[in-house]
Point group: C2
Chain length 328, copies 2
């Protein structure tokens, strides 16, 4: 376990301080680093608040800024933020139009965001993401897990919020985007928290198909396969679930888990693009990079999000965050 | 060695095809994938062409687009592109105002870009980058190596070219930016090409201080140290060399080598920012991410670039490439 680190106890706060300093034009850290929020809030806009365990950077703090989130609450590594953190974020960014909470479907997150919603007197609506088709139940979740597709929900709901959409409609939109967004991941290596041992063990020639973003078990442990056959298995599951009409337009998102270099992610993108095209989809928007990670895990996920209704316009709308930026 | 791969023999071409497909709005691949070029060229603008061995992605193809490079020539992994590739790129992007070649100081690159310059009848000027303060001579270089600071040279010369600056002035600018840009790197692990063994060996508790981006030896092999003391050693060397005036403004760039997650890069940024501020510098611009990589190496480099003259304006100018985008 070799990391850039002073002490495991101070990793999170030091990293957050570095993040806030590097992106001081866009964000500020809240008191006691309970949350990262936008530097400039807009009076009358619905606020978007997300968060979750750390170790998935740039998710979520890297998506705070114009056109995306208003605040993100970082829990300790792979640990939900506390209700206290979430309430503080809601208080800090509510501009009179209420808040939409975007929550990945893990039991701890759901519980703590629900508690924060109760403590803030009806000012919050919740969108739950559960885009991972790998398993129906996992170590930390009942029902499907929320993974990389959460980025797409945050981008589209963020764009709509920026355009003045009211809270109820944002919740409806977020749930619709989540339903047409599906993901699956594979781990080539485990991940190792700063304080401890690898989260799980993988043999020299093994991979975990359908892995979760905390290293939770997926569908099966299997021998390392070619990029092509990995992409085929993941997209078989995704497209089987989405059952898109031929000719549908989609975002194709290949996401690295933290330790996979971009030369490999682009190779995987090529395989994925060929497969979705052969299935009659048109990948008219793409995203390739390490956006929803699992510390230092080598591995990747593939996400397909169908572009229906206003979705393309919402995806293309200006965004200015630490990790996603265009149009501004 | 676990990678997303079909065959080591087809890795590069498949990855380039994926890159060109994912960013088809910005780039196109040349015949036989000799180069990646901008989709839209501007008549009368000086063309910027760079390139080098693959394995450093997103450098250089990820920096092709508005406000940065016109073309990038990818050699095989850690191998210079051929003169034939570079000539093809020059022919493809020359819009009547000549070409500036931006070349990292490695013997193979220098030789092949020089040969291409000779073969194109005086249409090319060359800017050589050698920002790595670690060593004065290395496995593949005489004199200092060109590393992560090359990105900053490409950005600033690219912005000036976009603004209509002529070829001679671009060469002068590029050399000036290179002189005030200094870098140093450290490896926590080796890197492993698809076809082979790790490039070098590092013990369980060792790091290579001053490593090159191909895993070339640096200043010394030493026991893993804290992020703070790593940053102190690297910035001691960088600031000792730059000898900046107190109060100078600078870009502070923390670059991951491929397998280092962003939670660690931001922690390192925090340490670096504190050190440069204590030395009287003002890090008014920042960049944190894996931009100039060494395949799957865990490690990072720190670059300081002094913002003199028009440099801040050139850095802030719009850029639209696969890996860097703002203002558009």
């Amino acid at each position: 376990m070799k990391k850039f680190l002073n002490s495991p106890d101070t990793l999170l706060e030091e990293s957050l301080d570095g993040f806030a300093a590097a992106h001081a034009d866009v964000v500020v850290a809240g008191d006691e680093r309970k949350f990262i929020r936008r530097r400039k809030l807009s009076r009358g806009k619905v606020g978007l608040v997300s968060g979750g365990g750390s170790g998935h950077e740039p998710l979520h703090a890297g998506f705070v800024g114009l056109g995306m989130l208003d605040a993100a609450c970082p829990g300790h590594v792979f640990t939900s933020p506390t209700p206290d953190q979430i309430v503080a974020a809601v208080e800090a960014v509510d501009q009179g139009a209420g808040i939409v909470l975007i929550v990945k479907n893990y039991e701890g997150d759901v519980m703590n965001f629900d508690m924060a919603a109760e403590l803030t007197d009806g000012r919050c609506s919740t969108v739950l993401t559960d885009d991972d088709v790998a398993v129906e139940r996992s170590t930390y979740s009942t029902g499907r897990r929320g993974v990389a597709g959460t980025l797409i929900v945050e981008k589209m709901v963020g764009a709509a919020a920026e355009a003045g959409t009211p809270r109820d409609a944002l919740k409806t939109l977020g749930e619709a985007v989540n339903r047409r967004t599906r993901s699956m991941g594979v781990a080539l290596t485990s991940c190792t928290p700063a304080a401890g041992k690898p989260n799980f063990e993988l043999g020299e020639n093994e991979m975990e198909m359908g892995v979760g973003i905390h290293g939770e078990p997926g569908r099966r442990r299997m021998a390392l396969a070619s990029a092509r056959s990995i992409a085929e298995e993941m997209l078989g599951a995704i497209l089987g679930d989405l059952a898109p009409k031929r000719g549908s337009e989609a975002i194709l998102f290949v996401n690295g888990f933290g330790a996979t270099p971009s030369i490999e992610l682009y190779l995987l993108y090529r395989e994925a693009a060929r497969i979705v095209e052969a299935a009659g989809l048109r990948p008219v928007r793409s995203l390739v990079g390490s956006y929803v990670t699992s510390l230092d895990m080598a591995g990747a996920s593939i996400t397909v999000s169908l572009l229906e209704g206003e979705a393309t316009k919402l995806w293309d709308a200006p965004v200015h965050t630490a990790a996603l930026r265009w149009g501004v």
